[in-house]
Amino acid sequence: MIKEEVKKKLEGKIKEWFEKNPRRIYITIDKKDLKEVAKILHKDLGMRLSTVTGIDNEKNFELIYHFGKDQTGELFNLRVFIEDKANPEIDSLVSLFNSTEWIEREIKEMLGVNFKGHPDLRHLLLDKDWPEEEYPLRKDYPLKKGYPQDE
């Protein structure tokens, strides 16, 4: 069973294991273990990184790395919290997956999380002239600057 295998391989690194249903498993891990855990899931257990979700929880940032086991259909979601709101930083996974290159660029421009070791953190979707230090997906950013917000 893949779940037991994951539990065994990640022993000592799992801070919280939550099974919402048999196909949706949420695993909370520490920030510093991310690269190692991702490597185990991808290289040893043959999982595919679907995407990374970045969330601004106001008190901290949360990144969820969605790993899919394609043969059996389980989705393992690695949850990582970044507590330092003023200077959020986390290891980049570009050396493991080419696909994270764009994903991390997007999270950087939308949430302002810095990825250590990413070769090129230019804007991906936003314009070149987009002001620095303005991150549209943060909760304190209005939907549109200068636009009347209806409550």
Binding site: K20, N21, R23, R24, Y26, R48, L49, S50, T51, T53, G54, I55, I64, H66, G68, D70, Q71, T72, G73, L75, N77, F97, N98, S99, E101, W102, I103, M110, H123, L124, L125, L126, D127, P136, L137, L143
Partner: protein, 394 residues
């Protein structure tokens, strides 16, 4: 030709490309060395907008992420909400969802096949494929009331029922589609020019396909057997008899072949679904969305659509993350065009069936002044190569 490095800009407004995107091809002589992809011309900020709409409105918002996958996104979204709630829609609703989703796959693949034909200079293929696509759109209009943007999905079920007298129309349309598909299959399999233009071109190896995390037909053409419909059967795909199509080489030819063969499977799925439609409710009532999180995955024509939602118990999502398949597939072009001739670039870039609206969701110098090549020249180059090959083969 000199070995000087030059940059060829393609786009953002490229002839007959429906969407704006910008590729910088770095070439030496005629060989493509590297490519830089710039996107964002379609970015509409849908993820942020979604946080200001209530749960039912979001269905319509995500529908407008993309005009071609306009069922896949709402489907993945409602599956995400249903995952949060832990409910399942009634069987009739599931079958209706599948019929719409598979019809969409047929119309999308035909659309792409036509454009691919155009890129290699076979405008006849373009016209024929789009002609064959029209009856499918008519069917959509009959069932849902609109040619595109069907608005069929709803949290807990579907918004509209399929009338009993329409069953025969669906079956008739699908039956008439088979000979058309045979025609395309024959054209792709037997035409020596298509073989010459597409075999061994734009190869994406299995290794790179895994690393780029590609999805859908692009992955399946490279020999990766992934399909959300089989891996994590949503709706009622597990009850239907169908196959995942894979090929091994990962070149443009394989990508065409996978899509053509997939249309047959879609036709088979639709026929079985229509047969199994039994009278019954089409939705379950959903009153409140409790706090929690949910993930929905659906197989769009281009691959896995991924929606993540989080609720805090209010009537709006706190976070809604959308990942479209083209997001991964387009990035893989960085690998696939390298080392091939520029006249092959147009078809290679198009072979992943890129959908920038999806990519940028929320996803050039125009006719550059340095006078090297323009985008138009690129298509012309590609079309001339086909003509040359045709003459050689005669």
């Amino acid at each position: 030709m000199s070995k000087e490095r030059k940059i060829i800009p393609i786009g953002p407004y490229h002839p007959l490309q429906e969407e704006p995107e910008f590729f910088r091809l770095i070439v030496e002589g005629e060989k493509v060395i590297d490519v830089d992809i710039e996107i964002g011309y379609n970015h509409r900020g849908i993820e942020k907008l979604s946080e200001t709409k209530h749960w039912d409105q979001v269905t319509f918002l995500v529908e407008r992420i993309c005009g071609i996958c306009s069922t896949s996104h709402p489907l993945a979204y409602v599956l995400a909400v249903e995952d949060l709630l832990g409910i399942k829609p009634p069987p009739r609703a599931s079958f209706i969802r599948m019929i719409i989703a598979e019809l969409e796959r047929i119309h999308s693949h035909l659309l792409w096949l036509g454009l691919a034909g155009h890129f290699i200079g076979y405008n006849t293929v373009w016209m024929w494929a789009w002609k064959a696509r029209e009856p499918v759109l008519d069917l959509f209009e009959l069932i849902t009331g609109n040619r595109n943007h069907y608005a069929m999905m709803k949290i807990g079920g579907v918004r509209r029922d399929i009338k009993e007298e329409d069953y025969s129309v669906i079956k008739k349309t699908i039956k008439e589609l088979y000979p058309q598909l045979d025609l395309f299959k024959k054209a792709v399999r037997d035409d020596p020019v298509i073989h010459k233009r597409t075999k061994g071109v734009g190869v994406l190896t299995k290794q790179e396909a895994i690393s780029y995390g590609v999805a859908g037909p692009t992955a399946r053409a490279s020999g990766l057997k992934i399909d959300v419909r089989r891996d994590e059967p949503y709706c009622l795909y597990e009850e239907i008899d169908w196959q995942v199509i894979t090929t091994e080489k990962g070149d443009v030819y394989d990508k065409i072949l996978v899509r053509v063969l997939e249309m047959y499977e879609s036709c088979r799925i639709i026929e079985q679904c229509v047969d199994r439609l039994k009278p019954g409710p089409i939705e379950v009532e959903v009153r409140e969305i409790p706090p929690g999180e949910g993930i929905g995955r659906a197989e769009a024509p281009r691959g896995e659509v991924f929606h993540y939602i989080r609720s805090d118990g209010t009537n709006q999502p706190v976070r809604h993350k959308v990942r479209a398949p083209s997001y991964m597939n387009v990035a893989s072009n960085k690998f696939a065009v390298k080392g091939y001739s520029i006249s092959d670039a147009a078809i290679t870039l198009a072979a992943v069936d890129p959908c920038y609206c999806c990519t940028e969701r929320a996803v050039a110098y125009n006719k550059n002044r340095e006078k090297i090549f323009t985008g138009q020249d690129l298509i012309k180059l590609s079309q001339e190569k086909t003509k040359k090959l045709e003459a050689e083969l005669k």
